[in-house]
Amino acid sequence: MITEEEVEHVGWLARIEIDRSKSKEYAEQLNSVLDYFKQLDEVDTEGVEPTYHVEDLVNVLRPDTVTESLTQEEALQNTEHKKDGYFRAPGIM
């Protein structure tokens, strides 16, 4: 069971502002899905390795050779929040 408080904490971890008045509704929705996921508890996975990749690839590497970068204009083309070639954002604190 995920509590309203946990929903707010997870909201903070995920940087999604959750309106206090909505945390109950979120908790209910998330719990109905988590409830469904509980069925996995039935599965015996003792000694089963997790599958992160379906392929058995290893050592995919690229040589240390330079390729073309974007221009400053291209790098900044998708924002209006810029100054002197930098991205501009609110302060951190």
């Binding site: 903070w12 971890l13 940087r15 992160y52 990749h53 392929e55 690839l57 290893v58 050592n59 995919v60 590497l61 690229r62 040589p63 240390d64 050779t65 330079v66 390729t67 073309e68 970068s69 974007l70 221009t71 400053q72 790098a75 900044l76 100054k83 002197d84 070639g85 930098y86 991205f87 501009r88 954002a89 609110p90 302060g91 951190i92 604190m93």
Partner: protein, 472 residues
């Protein structure tokens, strides 16, 4: 004498080393040569975290990391992989850092440094590869900022994070460890310490078996020593007043030389590590023996060789090899002139003058050094003049012969000195008499007279000896 560590200090370091001698970044082909460039000009969809872009591991970074591990006597992990470390920060363009978690590329190494009481073995817990975030410029101070400007040129630079066990017992040992590490990294040619932000240190410190604090944001070796001295003092004062040290992260304010608590909400981390699905595992242990073969001679080995090959004293050998550029410089000089004399000139004189001016050995060239030493060996200039030539060259440039000539530093012919001595004795009978009566200063006067006559080209010690032998 054994060091008894009166405060029970335990220091462990986490050092982020930028593998800035690589040509490209960790996961993309952007050039690493951004240091003198406009912001956001060394970026691509990958290192800017644009939607849809995918990372590919730089083989050079993998091998450089392995080389460092091998030089630090580490084991290479059989199968290693990258994880995502999830957290939000403006300089982190994907909202996660691609790093390594439970399978770092190398682990379990050691480095021997000169500790408080002789050799100290510092254990290396692990070293893992990761990517550097971008760089933020605060408009105003960090806490009262009107905004942040972000440049992603640094984003994606290959980092190796080296983690030690808490084996260091004083700020001085921590600094020595960092110096030694830097030296090894430069010998390996994976790292240039002169570039801004090339090595960043976090230090864990506890005293008397208490809780440890982590000091972040240390950007120099001197800074590390200062931060640790401050933090030990702070913890001791706290305990003396009956307080307890709590486990926390502290920020080092380089300008003020103090550490401050950083317990904000942003610091409550839950990194939610999971394997990076866009990358596949690495199995590179089989490259170990090939890489071992390519490993260059490291500082300790080179120091021993200098002692045996050139017959220089241990102390000089250490000083010469503690910086690869100085060691290379010395060996080139030693090829042309007597290695023992060269060792004194490079280790004592040149290094001292460079340090005094905050310069590196790059500011001097081998041929000039050889010429100066040769002149001293041939007795054409005095040691003092040799030093003066070096100083002049460092301060205002020029070539050795010109400086010697312009400053009239060439030693006078012996006959000229000899007749000047005779003249001085003849012309200053009273002074000679005074000296004979035991008045030491009179000798200085007489030597001064000879120096005047030879326009300073004589060696004062020799002149003194000549006068004494003639008046006795």
């Amino acid at each position: 004498m054994a060091y008894n560590n009166p405060d029970g200090v335990m220091i462990g370091l986490e050092i982020h080393v930028q593998l800035n001698r690589l040509k490209t970044k960790m996961f993309c082909g952007c050039s690493t040569q951004y240091h003198n460039s406009q912001p956001n000009t060394h970026v691509c969809p990958v290192c800017m975290g644009l939607p849809g872009a995918l990372p590919v591991i730089n083989e050079g970074a993998v091998e450089a990391s392995m080389k460092v591990g091998l030089a630090l006597n580490c084991e290479v992990t059989d199968r290693t992989q990258f994880h995502r470390k999830n957290y939000y920060y403006p300089d982190l363009p994907k909202g996660y850092q691609v790093s390594q978690y439970d399978y770092p590329i190398v682990s379990n190494g050691k480095v021997v440094i000169e500790g408080e009481d002789g050799e100290l073995v510092v254990r290396i817990r692990r070293a893992h590869m990761e990517e550097d975030p971008g760089k933020m410029v605060h408009m105003g101070t960090i806490d009262k900022s009107r905004g942040t400007l972000i440049d992603y040129n640094r984003s994606g630079m290959a980092l190796l994070e080296i983690v030690t066990e808490p084996d260091l017992r004083s700020p001085k040992e921590a600094r020595r460890f960092l110096d030694k590490l830097r030296n090894i990294l430069e010998y390996l040619d994976v790292f240039d310490s002169n570039l801004e932000g090339s090595m960043r240190v976090d230090a864990n410190i506890s005293i008397g078996g208490g809780s440890r604090t982590e000091v972040k944001n240390i950007s120099s070796h001197k800074g590390a020593e200062r931060a640790l001295i401050y933090e030990i003092m702070r913890q001791k004062n706290l305990l003396r007043r009956g307080g307890v040290v709590t486990m926390e992260t502290r920020h080092f304010d380089e300008a003020r030389g103090v550490t401050t608590s950083m317990r904000t909400k942003e610091e409550e981390h839950d990194y939610r590590y999971f394997p990076e699905p866009d990358l596949v595992p690495l199995k590179v242990k089989d490259r170990t023996s090939r890489l071992l073969d390519t490993l260059p001679e490291l500082p300790d080995a080179r120091r021993d060789r200098f002692v045996s090959q050139y017959g220089v004293p241990e102390m000089h050998a250490k000083a010469l090899t503690s910086d690869i550029k100085v060691a290379d410089f010395y060996e080139m000089v030693a090829e042309k002139v007597d290695p023992k004399v060269a060792a004194t000139w490079v280790a004592d004189v040149l290094k001292g003058e460079l340090n005094y001016r905050d310069l590196t050995v790059k500011s001097f060239n081998v041929e000039d050094m050889v010429k100066i030493i040769q002149m001293v060996i041939d007795d054409r200039i005095t040691d003092r003049s040799g030093v003066e030539v070096i100083r002049t060259m460092l301060d205002s440039g020029g070539i050795p012969m010109d400086i010697v000539q312009q400053k009239g530093l060439m030693k006078a012919e012996d006959s000229v000195v000899s007749s000047a001595v005779d003249e001085a004795i003849k012309e200053n009978a009273a002074a000679v008499e005074d000296y004979m009566q035991g008045k030491e200063q009179s000798m200085n006067f007489l030597v001064g007279q000879v120096m005047k006559k030879t326009r300073g080209r004589a060696d004062p010690q020799t002149v003194r000896e000549m006068i004494i032998s003639r008046i006795k």
